[in-house]
Structures are given as structure tokens and as C-alpha cells.
Symmetry: C2
Subunit: 276 residues, 2 copies
């Protein structure tokens, strides 16, 4: 008999950033199988029109559902900000974003000081963080940081370049109590940002928060896999170049498994599978 609890969990991002969320999910849910979709052909989402990001999110979710996932984690801040709750409305499986878990962690921290949000232009334009935080009565300062993603993907997160860029973005900040890292790439810059902001500022990385929420909800929904496994599987679908995906995935330390190239929105769709 088909048992939905044994189905894999779907995770997607505009590219490789969501691998930090996948890693957190893997730590908290070691017995689960995952299908990760990295839309590397259309990355970045951060500066695209929001309705376009919504279309992409729906298209990818439908692909994941056609592969039998029991739920979908939108491991991309821009896609979460742009497409939830529409996805939750339209899809037949549970959907989680990364924005709300991050907001909840920030709100649970003691103190009522101003909260900073760093993210892509698209994430901030969608105002998902701002509207949640302001609804809770908190003051918000947000700043788009477009250079952070290419810096992380270039593998120079620890450089003087990264530090100068961070100083550039943070030069006009007001006093902040908490800073939400509103992009899945930014945890790679966490140490440097903490140093720059000082030890009193609390940094929120939504990857772990999201994984905790997903784990709790799966349990409540009776969807935790209980099949004994020697090793849970991770299957990656990528819309762009497989070699450069593997290269960047390594920089972000994402867990790897099999990798499949997938052609979206094109006639004569083909598939190439690679083991990685």
C-alpha cells in the first residue's frame, strides 16, 4: 500500500543557496529522502519581477509533485516572499517557506529593538519580512545586498573584499538589536557580519529555524518516514549547467547525491542524469 510518509520531501531554490536549508533539513530529518530542485538556469530570482518568480515557483512545485513529494520547502527567500501563500493555496501538499520561521525566531528573542533585514532586491520588494515584523509592532530597517550572492559563489566570503562590501551595505544602518539573514547564501558571511555588527547584535539564519518547523509539522501530520534506511537519498534536479552546479554546491557545502539536468519550459524536454 502506498504510504505518503515514505515519499521524499521536495526542496527548491533559485540555485544553490537552498542547499544550506537542505543541509539543515538533513541534520534534523536524517531518515528522509529529498528531491532538491536548483533553478540554476534562471538564477538569480532577486531582481526579477515578482509575478515571474511566482510562475517559476509554481512550475517547479508542479514538477516536484509529479515526482511524488509529500511536501515542499521553498528554500529561497525571494520565492518564499513572492509566492507564499499562493503556493499553499494551489498545491495538494504542505508547503513551507523560509521567511516565517526566520521572523518567528527574531520575534522570540528578548528585547523590542529594531530588526534589520538583509536580502535580495526581490525579497525586500515583496515586503514579506517587513509586513510580518511590523504587524508584530517592531521597527524594521532593510537593506538589499546584491553583491553578497556572487561573493559567496566565488568562494571569497572570507576576503577583505567581502568585508568592504558588507561595510558598504551597513554603513548607514541605525541601531539594531537583531539582523535577519534574509537570503540562503548569507550564512556563509555570518562570522564576518557578526564581527562587523558587534557581539550584541543577534543574527538570525532561517535555515535551522525552517528545518525545525518542517520537522515538527511532519510529525504532527503523521508524515515522518519510519522506513529503516542505511542511507537516505538526495536527488538533485538542476535546470542549468551540471558541472558548474557541482562546483558551486561544493563551496556551499551542500550534501550531494545524484544530479539530473532538467529542461524547463522548453519543447523537446530532455534529461541527462549524472551521479555526483
Amino acid at each position: 500500500m502506498f504510504d505518503p510518509a515514505q515519499a521524499p520531501l521536495g526542496v527548491f531554490d533559485s540555485g544553490v543557496g537552498g542547499l544550506t536549508v537542505l543541509a539543515a533539513l538533513k541534520r534534523q530529518l536524517p531518515q528522509e529522502d529529498f528531491i532538491y530542485f536548483g533553478d540554476t538556469a534562471r538564477v538569480p530570482y532577486g531582481r526579477k519581477p515578482l509575478e515571474m518568480v511566482r510562475d517559476f515557483a509554481l512550475e517547479i512545485s508542479q514538477e516536484l509533485i509529479s515526482r511524488g513529494v509529500k511536501g515542499i520547502v521553498v528554500a529561497c527567500n525571494t520565492a518564499s516572499a513572492a509566492s507564499l501563500p499562493e503556493l499553499a493555496d494551489k498545491l495538494p501538499v504542505p508547503v513551507w517557506g523560509v521567511v516565517e520561521p526566520g521572523v518567528e525566531v527574531a520575534l522570540r528573542m528578548p528585547g523590542q529593538g529594531r530588526i534589520g533585514v538583509l536580502g535580495t532586491e526581490g525579497t525586500l520588494k515583496a515586503r514579506a519580512y517587513e509586513s510580518h515584523l511590523e504587524a508584530a509592532g517592531r521597527e524594521v530597517w532593510s537593506k538589499a545586498c546584491p553583491l553578497f550572492v556572487p561573493i559567496v559563489e566565488e568562494g571569497i566570503s572570507d576576503s577583505q573584499i567581502a568585508r568592504l562590501v558588507a561595510e558598504h551595505y551597513l554603513s548607514e544602518r541605525p541601531e539594531l538589536q537583531t539582523v535577519i539573514l534574509g537570503c540562503t547564501h548569507y550564512p556563509a558571511l555570518k562570522g564576518m557580519l557578526q564581527e562587523l555588527l558587534g557581539p550584541k547584535v543577534q543574527l538570525v539564519d532561517s535555515a535551522e529555524a525552517t528545518a525545525a518547523v518542517v520537522a515538527a509539522d511532519l510529525k504532527n501530520l503523521g508524515l515522518v518516514s519510519n522506513e529503516p534506511k542505511t542511507a537516505a537519498s538526495i536527488h538533485h534536479l538542476v535546470s542549468g549547467d551540471v558541472t558548474s552546479y557541482l562546483h558551486t554546491a561544493k563551496i556551499l557545502g551542500g550534501p550531494l547525491g545524484s544530479v539530473e539536468r532538467i529542461y524547463l519550459g522548453q519543447a523537446g524536454r530532455q534529461r541527462d542524469t549524472v551521479s555526483g
Copy 2:
């Protein structure tokens, strides 16, 4: 009677970078009308699979042809490297890329020293520069510089950040006689790169070279517009957000005219027109 010489010239790029080429064309061909297509919804092309870039280039060219252009300038190094000569083969109008004019300028310079090529990953992967230069018997050193485009688009080309990033990319260069700026954004960094490379290194910016080739060919083909005009028109088609296009276009100093949002590859295609 329809006179093809009075038709506009089509120009396209993955985004705003090609505006530097448009500006050079406008200087050398002040009497021509232009239709500029900026594929800002799918920018950047630099890390996309080459066959995808080829599909985009063909799709955009067909859109321009449906609007009656008399010729097409591929004002994007990645698209030029990936899609010429296929475009030249398939299209019913003359097509110019930015790679060959830049190569010709570099080869005309006195001396036989090594030539450096800076560009995106896609441009270098297509090996268009390398194969042309090597066929002419020249040694080539090429380097992908993915951070340059976001730095230019952020408007911090003159910053210490830009200088450090350039030092990072150029740190392991061999001795170079000439350096080709193989991306339409890079002229914004020209002064700083010249300073870093030293006064003996010749920098090649393909925008002016391309405009000169196009002007000469139009004349030979009898396609130069001779209608008296008070002001030639420039019409922009953008696939992404119009507001952020106008913002970045200003940083690159591109000539503006009317701007139209265009929805590619989507059902229910709509159009919004804005005067800018």
C-alpha cells in the same frame, strides 16, 4: 514604397550592458532609429548553458525582425560568442556580434605579445575570443570576472571594492600586451583597470569597434538612413522590471527613449508601454 534603409536597427543584450554599444552606435550613426532589447528578466547570460543562450538570442532576434529591423547588433559578448554564426545563418537580415570587432582591433595593434581576455564564464566557455586569437597565432590568457557586472550595476565602479576585486582577478596574470574587455559592462571599469595594468597595456573596448564595423557595413549595403530627422528615435523593449531597467540604464549612461515591457515565452503575452 518601402525602403529598408529607413527601417530601425535592432540591438540586443542580456540586460543593460549593451547600452554602451548602443551609445557608440548612436554616436557613429546619429541619423538611425534603434530598437534596443534588454533581456533583463533572464539576465545574466554569463553562467547559463550555451544552447540556452542560443535559444534566447534566436527568440529575441525574431521579435526584432517582426518589428521590421534592417539588421541586428548582438551587443552582448556571451550571446555573440554562443550564437554567431548560427544567427547569421538563420536570419534574413545582417547580424553583427561584438567579439570579432574587438578581436580585429586587438590584432591590429602593433606587437605580438600575449593578449588577455576578461569576460563572463559563458563568453570564455564558448572560446570565441580564444579561437579567433589563437588562429591568428597569438598567445591568450583569459579570466572570468563574475563580480564585475554586479559591481558596475551597483554603481560602485570607482570604489576600493572594485579595485580589490580587479586585483583579485588579475593577481595571477602573465605579462600581457593587450587586454580585451570582453563584456559590455567592463568599459565602466576601464580607468581603474588601466591604472592597475599599467600604461603599457593596451585596453580594447569592443563597443566603438563594433559601431565602426556596423557603420561601414551599412554603407556598403546601401542601408544607411537618409531621411532628414530632427531626432532619431530609440525604443527599448525590456523583459524584466521597467523601473529597475531605467535605474541601471542611468548608471551606464545609456541613451533613453520610450520603454516597453515585453513578456517572452509566456502565454497571454501582454505589453505595457512607458515613456522614459
